[in-house]
Symmetry: C2
Subunit: 339 residues, 2 copies
């Protein structure tokens, strides 16, 4: 039960939605958690220490759960999905370590970010270590296709992150560009996590594609909701600081939509705070007010809902089953956590 | 000829030694260089821009040459070694980008380091991109053994780098610890570059092991010489700043050996400059004087020579050939460049 609570930390209401999926993959996830701890080990003590700080901080293990669920819904009976799901979580952990250095974020999952405690250098290097470990685990699955899918995803994630750097302080960013960034930096790993689960299960191309589509759309919805919460959530609930994106001058959909309806005075406000990066504490409150005034949170969440509906539609190639229902519920939960 | 000149940039004397190896792999290396440029491409312009800054800055392409040479000495006739050598160079480039962030070095190959021009964030992310690209290339070779060797090497490199962080400002570092760090952070990639060349050529275990041993010992010698040059080289020759290790408080063999023979007054000097990190410009000159006084450069190079001899011995499983002679010469050049 502690594991469920740890997993659900960060959810508004611990609905049955996620617990249902959790129950279905619980046994596998326990193996994944054990393997995560085993493969974090190193003769260099700082590595498991720093990686453990993040790994044990109540992450939702959403991506490895996707891999496990995908393998299971394809009827997989083997053990390769355990290694694969661990590899997926290691890629995610590596990108979080690097992201926190890149964004200079101070909080991650409600704790001080690793680079704040140990500095940038070990965060970069331990990220590299976990990234290498993830490829070692994939090699152990013996599947070149899995390696292909996840090495492609890793390259796309890095591209998305670099693309996002270029949009900081740029109020000309369109919704299209924003969605392209989200598809790369977030959805690519969700898609690869789900698709590779089908591949390890040696499923057919139709099911692989269905799970990839599910993961892709779920990932976009997930990020849209995250970006909405950055202007509307409560800090304790999110485990990270509210207003991070604002302070970093990161143009996300709530701001893009509010900008689209901005008066010239409001546009000046966004220009001063996001482009010239001239911000006071009161400015975040005003930004939230403007986003609220233009119903940009509701519009962002409504976009997110479109993506979760698309995600659920993709699952129709599978016959009805407890797992399909659980994956549908996960998509639902992904948006409902914002309300 | 321009390529040869670019390659030889940084060498004290453009001896026939390296040119002989260069000539033997020249045709393959041209393909590698073309593939490097092709795979650096991305829809995100900053990626090829930043990566190109480093890739086109006259790196010696030593590691991919090793891969090509290893495949060739094993009689390989295919094309897989081109992708593999490119993957090896990408891993190297990724680690350089991350190292420069970690070490806060301002110069790399005689030019401003990428993070000085573009900042830490893109350097970290483009490193991640190149690392992912390298795994994509390995997948294309279709060899899980190659992926195994290079994912292991990548993990070991990261471990070595983290280990080195722990020794900064620590004058208790022994020669053994130092050699362990060097074996991880530098020699692991040399060893993997050579071994995987034999693997892609589907050679036998004896030859794979011989090439791995050659690469490992060459890599250690190469790093020892680099560390000696950091206290004895000329800046223009090295393409990086002299005294970097001193300024960073990085304990390398020249200092470890000088410390072993230090008077109590000299030990105080090392403690102040390396541990308390209280340094003036004149201190580097005094450090070089102390290293000189205790013949620590000569002793470091003499250790390096032992490793190159070991490297050459490993090649004895191969019959005499122009390639074997070229690899022997490369080992010789590796130390002689310091004189």
């Amino acid at each position: 039960m502690r594991a469920v609570q740890r997993y659900l930390k960060g959810a508004t209401e611990p609905t049955g939605a996620v617990e249902r999926l959790y129950r279905l993959v619980e046994a596998d996830l326990a193996h994944v958690n054990a393997l995560i701890l085993e493969r974090m080990r190193s003769d260099v003590p700082l590595i498991p220490e720093l990686a453990g700080h993040l790994v044990n901080s109540g992450g939702k293990r959403l991506r490895p759960m996707l891999t496990l669920a995908a393998a299971q819904i394809c009827g997989y009976q083997g053990l390769g999905h355990i290694r694969l799901a661990t590899a997926v979580e290691f890629i995610h952990t590596a990108t979080l370590l690097h992201d926190d250095v890149v964004d200079e974020s101070d909080l991650r999952r409600g704790k001080a970010a690793a680079h704040v405690i140990w500095g940038n250098a070990p965060s970069v290097l331990v990220g590299d270590f976990l990234f290498s470990r993830s490829f070692q685990l994939m090699v152990e699955t013996g599947s070149l296709r899995v390696l292909n899918i996840l090495s492609n995803a890793s390259a796309v994630i890095a591209e998305g992150e670099v693309m996002q750097l270029g949009t900081k302080g740029n109020i000309g960013v369109t919704e299209d560009t924003y969605l392209k960034i989200v598809a790369s930096k977030t959805a690519a790993l969700f898609a690869a996590a789900a698709e590779s689960g089908a591949v390890v299960a040696q499923s057919d191309g139709l099911r692989e594609m269905a799970l990839k589509t599910y993961g892709h759309n779920l990932g976009i919805a997930f990020q849209l909701v995250d970006d909405a919460l950055d202007y509307s959530g409560r800090e304790a609930m999110m485990g990270k600081a509210v207003g991070d994106d604002f302070r970093e001058g990161k143009l996300t959909l709530p701001v893009i939509l509010a900008l689209g309806k901005a008066s010239s005075e409001e546009a000046d406000f966004w220009r001063r705070t996001m482009v010239q990066h001239d911000q006071s504490d009161a400015d975040l409150t005003h930004a939230i007010h403007l986003i609220d005034k233009h119903h940009a949170i509701g519009a962002t969440l409504s976009r997110a809902r479109q993506f979760t509906e698309e995600a659920c539609r993709a699952l129709n190639v599978f016959p009805d089953s407890p797992m399909r229902r659980a994956l549908n519920d996960l998509a639902e939960f992904c948006v409902s956590r914002a309300y």
